[in-house]
Protein backbone atom coordinates (compact mmCIF):
# COMPACT_ATOMS: atom_id res chain seq x y z
CA UNK A 1 0.00 0.00 0.00
CA UNK A 2 1.60 3.27 -1.03
CA UNK A 3 2.24 5.72 1.75
CA UNK A 4 -0.40 8.30 2.27
CA UNK A 5 0.59 11.71 0.97
CA UNK A 6 1.87 13.86 3.74
CA UNK A 7 -0.72 16.17 5.15
CA UNK A 8 0.04 19.75 4.30
CA UNK A 9 1.77 21.33 7.23
CA UNK A 10 -0.12 24.00 9.06
CA UNK A 11 0.88 27.45 7.90
CA UNK A 12 3.53 28.91 10.14
CA UNK A 13 3.31 32.37 11.60
CA UNK A 14 5.94 33.32 9.05
CA UNK A 15 3.69 32.12 6.23
CA UNK A 16 0.91 34.21 7.72
CA UNK A 17 3.14 37.25 7.75
CA UNK A 18 4.21 36.67 4.16
CA UNK A 19 0.62 36.48 3.03
CA UNK A 20 -0.33 39.55 5.05
CA UNK A 21 2.62 41.53 3.81
CA UNK A 22 1.78 40.56 0.24
CA UNK A 23 -1.62 42.08 0.82
CA UNK A 24 -0.09 45.32 2.04
CA UNK A 25 0.24 44.79 5.80
CA UNK A 26 3.29 46.85 6.73
CA UNK A 27 3.38 45.55 10.30
CA UNK A 28 3.64 42.01 8.97
CA UNK A 29 6.43 43.13 6.66
CA UNK A 30 8.24 44.59 9.65
CA UNK A 31 8.26 41.17 11.28
CA UNK A 32 9.69 39.68 8.11
CA UNK A 33 12.27 42.46 8.07
CA UNK A 34 13.30 41.76 11.68
CA UNK A 35 13.64 38.07 10.91
CA UNK A 36 15.91 38.56 7.91
CA UNK A 37 17.68 41.90 8.29
CA UNK A 38 20.80 40.36 9.82
CA UNK A 39 21.50 38.22 6.79
CA UNK A 40 20.66 40.90 4.25
CA UNK A 41 22.74 43.44 6.17
CA UNK A 42 25.78 41.15 6.21
CA UNK A 43 25.45 40.87 2.44
CA UNK A 44 25.08 44.64 2.01
CA UNK A 45 28.16 45.35 4.10
CA UNK A 46 30.30 42.86 2.24
CA UNK A 47 29.13 43.78 -1.24
CA UNK A 48 29.66 47.50 -0.70
CA UNK A 49 32.82 47.17 1.35
CA UNK A 50 30.98 49.12 4.05
CA UNK A 51 30.52 52.38 2.21
CA UNK A 52 26.87 52.88 1.36
CA UNK A 53 25.82 49.68 3.13
CA UNK A 54 23.06 51.44 5.05
CA UNK A 55 21.63 52.97 1.86
CA UNK A 56 21.78 49.62 0.12
CA UNK A 57 20.01 47.93 3.02
CA UNK A 58 17.15 50.41 2.82
CA UNK A 59 16.96 50.21 -0.99
CA UNK A 60 16.95 46.43 -0.81
CA UNK A 61 14.06 46.18 1.64
CA UNK A 62 12.03 48.78 -0.22
CA UNK A 63 12.53 46.70 -3.36
CA UNK A 64 11.68 43.51 -1.48
CA UNK A 65 8.43 45.12 -0.39
CA UNK A 66 7.65 46.13 -3.98
CA UNK A 67 8.34 42.67 -5.36
CA UNK A 68 6.86 40.66 -2.51
CA UNK A 69 3.55 40.03 -4.31
CA UNK A 70 5.55 38.09 -6.92
CA UNK A 71 7.06 35.73 -4.34
CA UNK A 72 5.48 32.31 -4.87
CA UNK A 73 7.35 30.25 -2.31
CA UNK A 74 9.51 28.33 -4.79
CA UNK A 75 12.43 29.10 -2.50
CA UNK A 76 12.81 30.08 1.11
CA UNK A 77 11.84 33.68 1.71
CA UNK A 78 15.31 34.49 3.05
CA UNK A 79 16.97 33.18 -0.11
CA UNK A 80 14.56 35.16 -2.25
CA UNK A 81 15.16 38.34 -0.27
CA UNK A 82 18.85 37.74 -0.57
CA UNK A 83 18.66 37.52 -4.33
CA UNK A 84 16.60 40.71 -4.54
CA UNK A 85 19.21 42.52 -2.45
CA UNK A 86 21.98 41.27 -4.73
CA UNK A 87 20.10 42.53 -7.77
CA UNK A 88 19.53 45.93 -6.20
CA UNK A 89 23.25 46.21 -5.55
CA UNK A 90 24.24 45.09 -9.03
CA UNK A 91 21.83 47.48 -10.74
CA UNK A 92 23.02 50.43 -8.72
CA UNK A 93 26.68 49.67 -9.11
CA UNK A 94 26.77 48.22 -12.60
CA UNK A 95 29.12 50.82 -13.97
CA UNK A 96 31.40 50.69 -10.95
CA UNK A 97 31.71 46.91 -11.14
CA UNK A 98 33.44 47.27 -14.50
CA UNK A 99 36.20 49.49 -13.09
CA UNK A 100 39.47 48.01 -11.90
CA UNK A 101 41.71 48.63 -8.99
CA UNK A 102 39.39 50.44 -6.57
CA UNK A 103 40.33 49.85 -2.98
CA UNK A 104 37.57 50.67 -0.56
CA UNK A 105 37.30 50.42 3.18
CA UNK A 106 34.82 49.00 5.54
CA UNK A 107 33.38 51.82 7.62
CA UNK A 108 30.78 49.71 9.32
CA UNK A 109 31.25 50.12 13.08
CA UNK A 110 29.98 46.61 13.77
CA UNK A 111 32.48 44.89 11.55
CA UNK A 112 35.42 46.88 12.88
CA UNK A 113 34.39 46.68 16.49
CA UNK A 114 33.81 50.42 16.68
CA UNK A 115 31.83 51.84 19.57
CA UNK A 116 29.29 53.93 17.68
CA UNK A 117 29.34 56.56 20.40
CA UNK A 118 33.05 56.87 20.89
CA UNK A 119 33.96 55.91 17.40
CA UNK A 120 37.16 54.08 18.24
CA UNK A 121 38.45 51.03 16.50
CA UNK A 122 38.90 48.11 18.83
CA UNK A 123 41.98 46.10 18.12
CA UNK A 124 40.70 42.63 17.51
CA UNK A 125 43.15 39.89 16.71
CA UNK A 126 40.33 37.73 15.44
CA UNK A 127 41.24 36.59 11.96
CA UNK A 128 37.63 37.00 10.88
CA UNK A 129 38.04 40.75 11.29
CA UNK A 130 41.20 40.58 9.14
CA UNK A 131 39.33 38.73 6.41
CA UNK A 132 36.37 41.14 6.56
CA UNK A 133 38.75 44.07 6.18
CA UNK A 134 40.60 42.37 3.37
CA UNK A 135 37.33 41.67 1.54
CA UNK A 136 36.31 45.30 1.95
CA UNK A 137 39.56 46.38 0.33
CA UNK A 138 39.08 44.30 -2.81
CA UNK A 139 38.24 45.98 -6.10
CA UNK A 140 34.48 46.09 -6.56
CA UNK A 141 34.21 43.39 -9.24
CA UNK A 142 36.48 40.96 -7.43
CA UNK A 143 34.71 41.65 -4.16
CA UNK A 144 31.29 40.93 -5.66
CA UNK A 145 32.54 37.67 -7.17
CA UNK A 146 34.07 36.50 -3.89
CA UNK A 147 31.14 37.51 -1.70
CA UNK A 148 28.55 35.98 -4.01
CA UNK A 149 30.45 32.77 -4.81
CA UNK A 150 32.64 31.86 -1.86
CA UNK A 151 30.51 33.32 0.92
CA UNK A 152 26.95 33.25 -0.36
CA UNK A 153 27.22 30.16 -2.55
CA UNK A 154 25.97 31.44 -5.91
CA UNK A 155 27.20 29.57 -8.98
CA UNK A 156 29.46 31.23 -11.54
CA UNK A 157 26.67 31.11 -14.07
CA UNK A 158 24.15 32.66 -11.68
CA UNK A 159 26.53 35.50 -10.87
CA UNK A 160 27.26 36.01 -14.56
CA UNK A 161 23.57 36.13 -15.43
CA UNK A 162 22.80 38.60 -12.66
CA UNK A 163 25.56 40.92 -13.82
CA UNK A 164 25.10 40.46 -17.55
CA UNK A 165 28.67 39.28 -18.02
CA UNK A 166 30.32 36.05 -19.13
CA UNK A 167 30.84 33.23 -16.65
CA UNK A 168 34.52 33.23 -17.64
CA UNK A 169 34.74 36.82 -16.44
CA UNK A 170 33.25 35.82 -13.10
CA UNK A 171 35.81 33.04 -12.78
CA UNK A 172 38.63 35.47 -13.54
CA UNK A 173 37.32 37.98 -10.98
CA UNK A 174 37.01 35.23 -8.41
CA UNK A 175 40.54 34.03 -9.01
CA UNK A 176 41.79 37.59 -8.67
CA UNK A 177 39.88 38.06 -5.44
CA UNK A 178 41.29 34.90 -3.91
CA UNK A 179 44.83 35.82 -4.94
CA UNK A 180 44.51 39.33 -3.50
CA UNK A 181 43.00 38.03 -0.28
CA UNK A 182 45.72 35.44 0.21
CA UNK A 183 48.40 38.02 -0.48
CA UNK A 184 46.74 40.57 1.76
CA UNK A 185 46.28 38.19 4.66
CA UNK A 186 49.83 36.90 4.40
CA UNK A 187 51.42 40.36 4.36
Amino acid sequence: MPPLPAAPSAPSPLDDDIARAQRGDVDAFERLYRAHVGRVNALCIRLTGGRGAEELLQDAFVRIWEKLPSFRGESALGSWMHRVAVNVYLVSRRSELRREARVVTSDDPESLGVDPVRGFVTDDPDSRIDLERAIARLPAGARAAFVLHDIEGYLHEEIAEMQGIAAATVRAQLHRARKLLIQGLES
Binding site: S95, G119, V121, R133
Partner: protein, 288 residues
Protein backbone atom coordinates in the same frame (compact mmCIF):
# COMPACT_ATOMS: atom_id res chain seq x y z
CA UNK B 1 53.84 85.66 26.63
CA UNK B 2 54.83 83.76 29.77
CA UNK B 3 56.75 86.80 31.14
CA UNK B 4 53.77 89.03 30.53
CA UNK B 5 51.52 86.64 32.40
CA UNK B 6 53.90 86.53 35.34
CA UNK B 7 54.01 90.30 35.45
CA UNK B 8 50.23 90.50 35.32
CA UNK B 9 50.00 87.88 38.04
CA UNK B 10 52.39 89.86 40.20
CA UNK B 11 50.20 92.89 39.73
CA UNK B 12 47.17 90.89 40.79
CA UNK B 13 45.61 91.29 37.36
CA UNK B 14 45.33 87.63 36.38
CA UNK B 15 43.99 85.13 38.88
CA UNK B 16 46.28 82.17 39.36
CA UNK B 17 43.58 79.79 38.29
CA UNK B 18 43.45 81.38 34.82
CA UNK B 19 46.95 80.30 33.89
CA UNK B 20 46.62 77.77 31.10
CA UNK B 21 47.26 74.18 32.16
CA UNK B 22 48.22 71.97 29.24
CA UNK B 23 49.83 68.69 28.37
CA UNK B 24 52.27 68.47 25.50
CA UNK B 25 51.70 65.58 23.14
CA UNK B 26 54.38 63.98 20.98
CA UNK B 27 53.54 60.40 20.12
CA UNK B 28 54.21 58.17 17.14
CA UNK B 29 53.31 54.71 15.92
CA UNK B 30 54.01 52.79 12.71
CA UNK B 31 51.18 52.47 10.20
CA UNK B 32 51.14 50.72 6.83
CA UNK B 33 50.60 52.97 3.81
CA UNK B 34 47.04 51.67 3.37
CA UNK B 35 46.36 51.30 7.06
CA UNK B 36 43.37 52.76 8.82
CA UNK B 37 43.51 55.64 11.28
CA UNK B 38 40.62 56.71 13.48
CA UNK B 39 40.80 59.84 15.60
CA UNK B 40 38.34 61.71 17.79
CA UNK B 41 38.75 65.13 19.37
CA UNK B 42 35.94 66.49 21.50
CA UNK B 43 36.86 70.19 21.22
CA UNK B 44 39.59 72.46 19.92
CA UNK B 45 41.17 71.67 16.59
CA UNK B 46 42.89 68.83 14.81
CA UNK B 47 44.85 69.07 11.59
CA UNK B 48 45.62 65.87 9.68
CA UNK B 49 48.43 66.04 7.13
CA UNK B 50 49.41 63.37 4.65
CA UNK B 51 53.06 62.46 4.33
CA UNK B 52 55.16 59.78 2.69
CA UNK B 53 56.30 57.99 5.85
CA UNK B 54 54.81 54.75 7.18
CA UNK B 55 53.97 56.10 10.59
CA UNK B 56 51.59 58.34 12.47
CA UNK B 57 52.89 61.25 14.51
CA UNK B 58 50.67 63.26 16.83
CA UNK B 59 52.00 66.53 18.20
CA UNK B 60 50.50 69.51 19.94
CA UNK B 61 48.84 70.28 23.21
CA UNK B 62 45.75 69.24 25.09
CA UNK B 63 44.29 70.70 28.25
CA UNK B 64 45.48 69.23 31.53
CA UNK B 65 42.20 67.55 32.35
CA UNK B 66 41.83 65.83 28.98
CA UNK B 67 42.46 62.20 28.34
CA UNK B 68 44.53 61.17 25.35
CA UNK B 69 44.23 57.75 23.71
CA UNK B 70 46.64 56.37 21.12
CA UNK B 71 47.27 52.77 20.16
CA UNK B 72 47.06 50.02 17.58
CA UNK B 73 49.01 47.97 15.09
CA UNK B 74 50.45 48.46 11.63
CA UNK B 75 47.08 47.95 9.95
CA UNK B 76 45.06 50.19 12.20
CA UNK B 77 45.66 52.90 14.77
CA UNK B 78 43.14 54.71 16.90
CA UNK B 79 43.55 57.83 18.93
CA UNK B 80 41.71 60.68 20.45
CA UNK B 81 41.10 63.26 23.11
CA UNK B 82 38.16 63.14 25.44
CA UNK B 83 36.82 65.37 28.14
CA UNK B 84 34.19 68.04 28.53
CA UNK B 85 34.00 71.44 26.93
CA UNK B 86 36.95 73.71 27.66
CA UNK B 87 38.44 71.00 29.84
CA UNK B 88 39.10 68.96 26.70
CA UNK B 89 40.61 71.59 24.44
CA UNK B 90 43.09 70.14 22.02
CA UNK B 91 45.31 71.72 19.41
CA UNK B 92 46.85 68.82 17.55
CA UNK B 93 48.59 68.05 14.30
CA UNK B 94 48.56 64.48 13.08
CA UNK B 95 50.80 63.30 10.26
CA UNK B 96 49.52 60.17 8.54
CA UNK B 97 50.64 58.04 5.59
CA UNK B 98 49.22 59.77 2.57
CA UNK B 99 47.14 56.80 1.38
CA UNK B 100 45.83 55.85 4.81
CA UNK B 101 42.11 55.37 5.27
CA UNK B 102 40.96 58.09 7.62
CA UNK B 103 38.06 58.48 10.01
CA UNK B 104 38.32 61.77 11.90
CA UNK B 105 35.66 63.24 14.12
CA UNK B 106 35.50 66.42 16.13
CA UNK B 107 32.68 66.70 18.65
CA UNK B 108 32.93 70.48 18.73
CA UNK B 109 36.37 70.67 17.23
CA UNK B 110 37.49 72.09 13.93
CA UNK B 111 38.89 69.45 11.62
CA UNK B 112 41.31 70.09 8.80
CA UNK B 113 42.70 67.45 6.43
CA UNK B 114 45.45 68.31 3.97
CA UNK B 115 47.29 66.31 1.38
CA UNK B 116 45.81 62.85 1.87
CA UNK B 117 44.65 60.55 -0.90
CA UNK B 118 43.08 57.62 0.90
CA UNK B 119 39.36 57.29 1.59
CA UNK B 120 38.27 59.96 4.05
CA UNK B 121 35.33 60.06 6.43
CA UNK B 122 35.29 63.06 8.72
CA UNK B 123 32.95 65.29 10.57
CA UNK B 124 32.23 67.59 13.45
CA UNK B 125 29.07 68.54 15.22
CA UNK B 126 29.66 72.27 15.56
CA UNK B 127 33.19 72.74 14.27
CA UNK B 128 34.29 73.57 10.75
CA UNK B 129 35.65 70.86 8.46
CA UNK B 130 38.20 71.74 5.78
CA UNK B 131 39.53 69.21 3.31
CA UNK B 132 42.21 69.80 0.74
CA UNK B 133 43.75 66.90 -1.09
CA UNK B 134 43.35 64.13 -3.61
CA UNK B 135 41.19 61.68 -1.71
CA UNK B 136 39.04 59.67 -4.11
CA UNK B 137 36.30 59.07 -1.58
CA UNK B 138 35.17 61.81 0.76
CA UNK B 139 32.33 61.71 3.26
CA UNK B 140 32.02 64.72 5.56
CA UNK B 141 29.28 65.86 7.92
CA UNK B 142 28.64 68.67 10.34
CA UNK B 143 25.61 70.12 12.05
CA UNK B 144 26.38 73.80 12.53
CA UNK B 145 29.89 73.97 11.18
CA UNK B 146 30.91 74.77 7.62
CA UNK B 147 32.24 72.21 5.15
CA UNK B 148 34.94 73.53 2.84
CA UNK B 149 36.28 70.95 0.42
CA UNK B 150 38.85 71.45 -2.31
CA UNK B 151 39.33 68.10 -4.03
CA UNK B 152 38.14 66.00 -6.94
CA UNK B 153 36.93 62.73 -5.46
CA UNK B 154 35.13 60.10 -7.47
CA UNK B 155 32.69 59.72 -4.57
CA UNK B 156 31.53 62.68 -2.50
CA UNK B 157 28.96 62.94 0.27
CA UNK B 158 28.66 66.23 2.17
CA UNK B 159 25.99 67.02 4.75
CA UNK B 160 25.39 69.91 7.10
CA UNK B 161 22.37 71.39 8.79
CA UNK B 162 22.99 75.13 9.24
CA UNK B 163 26.58 75.19 8.07
CA UNK B 164 27.53 76.23 4.56
CA UNK B 165 29.09 73.91 2.00
CA UNK B 166 31.79 75.04 -0.39
CA UNK B 167 32.96 72.39 -2.84
CA UNK B 168 35.66 73.34 -5.29
CA UNK B 169 36.47 70.58 -7.70
CA UNK B 170 34.76 67.81 -9.62
CA UNK B 171 33.21 64.52 -8.68
CA UNK B 172 31.81 61.58 -10.56
CA UNK B 173 29.20 60.77 -7.97
CA UNK B 174 28.35 63.52 -5.51
CA UNK B 175 25.58 64.37 -3.09
CA UNK B 176 25.34 67.50 -0.97
CA UNK B 177 22.60 68.18 1.57
CA UNK B 178 21.96 71.10 3.90
CA UNK B 179 18.94 72.46 5.69
CA UNK B 180 19.61 76.20 5.68
CA UNK B 181 23.26 76.27 4.79
CA UNK B 182 24.31 77.79 1.50
CA UNK B 183 25.80 75.41 -1.08
CA UNK B 184 28.44 76.55 -3.55
CA UNK B 185 29.93 74.21 -6.15
CA UNK B 186 32.60 75.53 -8.48
CA UNK B 187 35.42 74.54 -10.80
CA UNK B 188 34.08 71.26 -12.08
CA UNK B 189 30.84 70.00 -10.72
CA UNK B 190 29.49 66.49 -11.16
CA UNK B 191 30.18 64.35 -14.18
CA UNK B 192 28.03 61.24 -13.78
CA UNK B 193 25.62 61.78 -10.91
CA UNK B 194 25.05 64.79 -8.72
CA UNK B 195 22.39 65.59 -6.18
CA UNK B 196 22.01 68.75 -4.13
CA UNK B 197 19.21 69.08 -1.58
CA UNK B 198 18.45 71.96 0.73
CA UNK B 199 15.38 73.12 2.59
CA UNK B 200 16.03 76.86 2.60
CA UNK B 201 19.69 77.02 1.71
CA UNK B 202 20.61 78.79 -1.51
CA UNK B 203 22.58 76.92 -4.16
CA UNK B 204 25.15 78.20 -6.59
CA UNK B 205 26.43 75.65 -9.09
CA UNK B 206 29.28 76.69 -11.36
CA UNK B 207 30.19 73.69 -13.39
CA UNK B 208 29.18 71.21 -16.00
CA UNK B 209 27.57 67.79 -16.25
CA UNK B 210 29.09 64.87 -18.09
CA UNK B 211 27.58 63.16 -21.11
CA UNK B 212 24.75 60.95 -19.97
CA UNK B 213 25.03 62.35 -16.46
CA UNK B 214 22.27 63.56 -14.20
CA UNK B 215 22.32 66.54 -11.85
CA UNK B 216 19.32 67.08 -9.60
CA UNK B 217 18.82 70.09 -7.34
CA UNK B 218 15.85 70.12 -4.98
CA UNK B 219 15.08 72.89 -2.52
CA UNK B 220 11.98 74.05 -0.73
CA UNK B 221 12.75 77.76 -0.54
CA UNK B 222 16.32 78.21 -1.62
CA UNK B 223 17.37 80.26 -4.62
CA UNK B 224 19.33 78.32 -7.21
CA UNK B 225 21.83 79.91 -9.55
CA UNK B 226 23.33 77.77 -12.29
CA UNK B 227 26.39 78.97 -14.14
CA UNK B 228 26.87 76.53 -16.98
CA UNK B 229 29.60 76.57 -19.63
CA UNK B 230 28.49 77.52 -23.12
CA UNK B 231 29.44 74.02 -24.25
CA UNK B 232 26.87 72.41 -21.95
CA UNK B 233 24.91 69.70 -23.73
CA UNK B 234 21.99 68.68 -21.55
CA UNK B 235 18.26 68.87 -21.01
CA UNK B 236 17.56 71.54 -18.42
CA UNK B 237 14.26 71.03 -16.60
CA UNK B 238 13.35 73.71 -14.08
CA UNK B 239 10.30 73.82 -11.84
CA UNK B 240 10.27 76.98 -9.75
CA UNK B 241 8.14 79.84 -8.58
CA UNK B 242 10.29 82.22 -10.62
CA UNK B 243 12.90 81.34 -13.21
CA UNK B 244 15.24 83.12 -15.57
CA UNK B 245 16.91 80.63 -17.85
CA UNK B 246 19.35 82.20 -20.25
CA UNK B 247 17.11 85.23 -20.53
CA UNK B 248 13.83 83.36 -20.75
CA UNK B 249 11.79 84.43 -17.75
CA UNK B 250 8.76 82.72 -16.33
CA UNK B 251 6.70 83.05 -13.20
CA UNK B 252 4.36 80.45 -11.80
CA UNK B 253 0.74 81.16 -11.04
CA UNK B 254 0.78 81.73 -7.26
CA UNK B 255 -2.47 79.82 -6.97
CA UNK B 256 -0.98 76.69 -8.49
CA UNK B 257 2.09 74.56 -8.15
CA UNK B 258 4.94 75.64 -10.42
CA UNK B 259 5.23 73.88 -13.76
CA UNK B 260 8.33 72.54 -15.42
CA UNK B 261 10.13 74.68 -17.97
CA UNK B 262 12.44 72.75 -20.27
CA UNK B 263 15.39 73.93 -22.30
CA UNK B 264 17.50 71.73 -24.53
CA UNK B 265 21.01 73.04 -24.21
CA UNK B 266 23.43 72.36 -27.04
CA UNK B 267 20.77 70.22 -28.65
CA UNK B 268 20.58 67.97 -25.57
CA UNK B 269 22.13 65.12 -27.54
CA UNK B 270 24.39 63.76 -24.80
CA UNK B 271 21.63 62.28 -22.69
CA UNK B 272 22.61 64.47 -19.76
CA UNK B 273 19.89 66.03 -17.65
CA UNK B 274 19.89 68.89 -15.18
CA UNK B 275 16.72 68.99 -13.08
CA UNK B 276 16.09 71.85 -10.67
CA UNK B 277 13.03 72.18 -8.45
CA UNK B 278 12.39 74.99 -5.99
CA UNK B 279 9.01 75.33 -4.34
CA UNK B 280 9.36 78.95 -3.29
CA UNK B 281 12.68 80.03 -4.64
CA UNK B 282 14.02 81.57 -7.79
CA UNK B 283 16.10 79.64 -10.31
CA UNK B 284 18.46 81.27 -12.75
CA UNK B 285 20.67 79.79 -15.41
CA UNK B 286 23.35 81.63 -17.32
CA UNK B 287 26.74 81.13 -18.88
CA UNK B 288 29.89 82.68 -17.42
Amino acid sequence: MRLRLLVMLACGVVPLASLPAQQKIDRRLPLDPNGMFKFFVSSGSVRVVGWDVDSIVVTGTISAKSQFYFGGGRQGVKGGVEGDGVEAMADLTVKVPRRARLWVRGGEADVRVDGTSGPLDCGSASGTVRINGTAQEITAETMGGDLVVQASPDYLRLKTATGRVEFTGGSEDGAIATVSGRVTVRDGGFTRRGRIETVTGDVRYEGSIGAGGALAVDTHAGHVDLVLPRSTNASLVVTAAVSDLFGMRSMADPARAPRAVVQELGGATSGATITVRSFKGRVTAASP
